[in-house]
Structures are given as structure tokens and as C-alpha cells.
Amino acid sequence: MTSEISTSDVLPMKMDDLFIIHLDDQTRLACLKDKTLLESLEAHQVEVHFQCREGFCGACRTKLIEGQVDYLTDPLAFIDDDEILPCCCVAKSDLKLKLGG
């Protein structure tokens, strides 16, 4: 599993500190528990549209297919039941996302 995580800079850390984000069948990314999901995605150069980074503009709206997230601030932008705002949440488990939807 470890070899499929695409960043080398997170390898020295214990696996306990990471969750895995699945973007599609090929792409798996390491996600730090203390970073917002948006920051984790950006660290892997994944382009996610964003504006306010505070949960009220809704620009980063993303479909969550599997997994759980915790919000750091209450999301004020409209999101559907199966959507999340990566700018203001952290992963609580491994995640399966659908970007650019």
C-alpha cells in the first residue's frame, strides 16, 4: 500500500496520521489528518476550484462517494446531501471522492 502513496515527504510519518483519498481507480493520495481536505488535495497538485476557503462560497463543492468528514467550520454554502466542502473539513476516514462534478 505504502508504495502507492504518491508523496515521498509524508512517508517518514506513521500511517496513523494519514487517511487515503481515492480519486479514481488509479489515483490514491495521502491525506493528513490535521490539514483541511482542500490543503491535502493541493499538496498533491490536484486542481480544486476554490474561492473563500471558509465554507460560504461553495466553489469547492465536491461529491463524496464513500467515507466521512468532520467540519471545522459550519458550511454555509449550499451542498447536496452527497456533497462536501473540502475547504473547511478534515477526513475522518479513508475517502472516495469524485472531483469536477
Binding site: 476550484h49 474561492q51 476557503r53 471558509e54 460560504f56 461553495g58 463543492r61 449550499f78 469536477g100
Partner: protein, 376 residues
């Protein structure tokens, strides 16, 4: 139904629809049918700012250095934004307050409109700094054909709803003769007008500001007109919140989480609502053509600006359950995000964190030492 400023009948605001239920009586916020509006009010109030806090004096020197085409771009955008906020500073109040039925939504509409008046005041602040007498700029807003054409489209849906509501509240449902014209008033027609109006407001908040924003921030990228850019940043932050509220209202309707009749109207008027959005996109592209008719500015041209309009249109149409008709996949103006990011909107710490700076703020922490020199 006649409007009353204090409905003396007992109502339960937790089961009222957002609009066209009983008029609101007690302004209470301890319980909410739709919590989101209470949260938006709190967020919006926390964003409070005054145009005078932003120093725009350096902009005057910068403005003199701009080329003629650039001056045209800058001033035209200010005129257009002045129009938009003139409409938004009053229309949500006049159109929505007479028909609103939830206290939290009523107060959100008032808070929203109030912030639009701050925006209007900031345009005067900017223009007074640039010109000894800014009258010519303001007067041109009702003469300029390009602006007038947009004004017609923006105010049309509001005016329709306001007129129908007035007839309904004074004469009730039925067929009425008003100024020689036959007007049919019934609940469903009123709700349709409300639905289309809300779509038009949503398109306004979603699309119409962004061509001007892009130009302003393109100047700021060259370190020009930075005072103006600081103000526009604060405005953009507010507008994102306003957009969120119209998206919530439209989705609550469409998903049947409010008035079931509005859900069926949303379905029935889907194509018309989409056309309102597409028309706003088209008008914004035409506006970009008008802005750049005398020449481009460094870092921005008509084509890239039109692509940006399409890019955000895709996102904003998806947010209200419409299709994404445009090809653009990635953001053609990535630097825009640096200006739309609220982390970069400067807040003085004494205004947000340290309780002793805040007027009326109480620090509720009491330690044992506080009673050290206290004798009975």
C-alpha cells in the same frame, strides 16, 4: 391578502413556507425552520465594514497614469456595479418582505439589502476620490445604452413580482383592471413570478459582478488602483454570501423541502429559469466586448474574460441543479482566487479576537486570583 406589519393571529413559523404563508409577527430567532438563514445573518454581520476604512487616496495618482481604454474599463465597471447595487439595495426589501413568512428569512433579506447599501456608498467613496465632481459618472448610468439594457433585464422580474403582489394585497385574487390593463392574480401565478425573480437575482449575484471584479483585480495584479481593489474584495466576499442564500432558497424549493407547490413550479419553469441564467451569461460577455472596445488592458482581454464567465457559470448553474453547458474545465484566471479568498481579506486582530478591544464584549473567564483582594 392584506399585509399587516404585526399579524395578531397566532402562527407557527416552524411550519410556514418561506414565502406566501402568514405574514411574520414576532421577530424571534431562538428557533428556525431553515437554520441556514440565521447562520448567514451572523456571518454577514461579522463581515461588517465601512468604505471610509479603506484608504483610496493613492488611486487618484494611479488613475491619471491609466491609458484611455483602461480608464474606460475602470469607470464603466464602476457605473455598472453602481447600477447593480442600486437595484440590490432596495429590491429584495420591496419585493420579498411583503410576502415573506419566516422571521429568520425576513431578517436575512434586510441584512442582505443593508450590505448592498454599504456597497453603493463605497462607489461614491471611490469616485469622490477620483473626481472633484463625480456627477457626470453617476448621471451617465441612466443614459448609457449598454447599462440601460442590463438594467431592464435586472429590474424586470422584480417589478413584475412587486406589481402582482401589490394588486394581490389590495384587491385579492381574480381578474382586475389596472390602468386599462387586465391583470390575472392567483396564488400560482404569484409564486411563478417569485420563482423567476429569485432565479434572476441568483444569476445577478452569481455572474453579473464577476466581469467587473476580474478587471479590478487585474489592475491590482499590476499594483494599480489597490485601494479600489481592497474595497471590491470586501464587496466580493459579501456577494458570495448573498449568492449562497439565493442558491439555498432555490434548492429548498426544488427539493421539496419548503412549499410543495414551489417544487412543481421549479419543474414547470425549469427552461425559463435556465434561459434567465444563459441570458445573464450572454449579457456579461457583451459587456466584456463593450469594455474592451477601445483596447485591452495588460493581463486581460475579451476572450479570456468570456472564458472566465463561462467557467463560473458552469459552477453556479450546477449549484442550482442546472446543466453545465460550457466547455471550460479549468480556471482561465487562477489569480482571481487570491482576491476572492477570504483569508486574504485583512482583519485587524483587535476587531476579531482580543475581547478588550471590542465594545461591549465581556470576558467571562474568572480565575480565583480575581478575588484575591476581596474582603467581607
Amino acid at each position: 391578502m392584506k399585509y399587516t406589519t404585526f399579524n395578531q393571529q397566532s402562527t407557527n413559523p416552524l411550519v410556514e413556507p418561506m414565502f406566501f404563508g402568514n405574514p411574520v409577527n414576532v421577530a424571534r430567532y431562538d428557533q428556525q425552520k431553515h437554520q441556514i438563514f440565521e447562520k448567514l445573518i451572523e456571518k454577514q454581520i461579522s463581515f461588517f465594514w465601512r468604505p471610509e476604512e479603506v484608504d483610496v487616496s493613492k488611486d487618484r495618482v494611479d488613475f491619471q497614469k491609466l491609458s484611455e481604454p483602461e480608464k474606460h474599463i475602470f469607470i464603466s465597471n464602476l457605473k455598472y456595479q453602481t447600477l447593480l447595487d442600486s437595484v440590490q439595495g432596495r429590491s429584495p426589501n420591496i419585493a420579498f418582505l411583503p410576502i415573506v413568512s419566516l422571521p429568520e428569512l425576513e431578517t436575512w433579506v434586510e441584512t442582505w439589502s443593508f450590505f448592498e447599501t454599504i456597497h453603493s456608498r463605497s462607489y461614491t467613496h471611490i469616485l469622490r476620490n477620483l473626481f472633484a465632481d463625480p456627477s457626470a459618472v453617476f448621471e451617465d448610468i441612466v443614459l448609457n445604452e449598454e447599462i440601460k439594457r442590463r438594467a431592464t433585464d435586472i429590474s424586470k422580474y422584480y417589478d413584475d413580482l412587486i406589481f402582482a403582489t401589490q394588486v394581490w394585497q389590495t384587491q385579492g385574487e381574480g381578474v382586475h383592471l389596472v390602468d386599462g390593463q387586465t391583470v390575472t392574480i392567483n396564488q400560482r401565478e404569484l409564486k411563478k413570478k417569485l420563482f423567476l425573480c429569485m432565479n434572476s437575482v441568483n444569476a445577478l449575484e452569481a455572474i453579473r459582478f464577476y466581469v467587473s471584479f476580474a478587471c479590478t483585480f487585474a489592475f491590482a495584479e499590476r499594483e494599480l488602483m489597490e485601494g479600489n481593489s481592497k474595497i471590491i474584495r470586501l464587496i466580493a466576499r459579501d456577494e458570495a454570501l448573498h449568492l449562497s442564500s439565493t442558491q439555498h432558497i432555490l434548492n429548498l424549493w426544488a427539493k421539496g423541502k419548503d412549499d410543495p407547490e414551489m417544487a412543481s413550479i421549479a419543474e414547470e419553469c425549469h427552461d425559463e429559469a435556465r434561459a434567465i441564467f444563459m441570458n445573464a451569461v450572454e449579457q456579461e460577455k457583451q459587456w466584456a466586448t463593450y469594455l474592451f472596445q477601445h483596447g485591452s488592458m495588460i493581463g486581460l482581454n475579451k476572450d479570456i474574460l468570456c472564458q472566465y464567465v463561462e467557467f463560473i457559470a458552469n459552477h453556479r448553474m450546477a449549484a442550482i441543479g442546472l446543466d453545465t453547458p460550457f466547455e471550460v474545465k479549468s480556471n482561465p484566471l487562477p489569480w482571481m482566487n487570491n482576491y476572492l479568498n477570504s483569508d486574504n481579506v485583512q482583519v485587524a486582530p483587535q476587531e476579531s479576537e482580543i475581547s478588550s478591544y471590542l465594545v461591549g464584549q465581556i470576558d467571562s473567564e474568572v480565575s480565583g486570583d480575581d478575588f484575591g483582594d476581596f474582603d467581607l
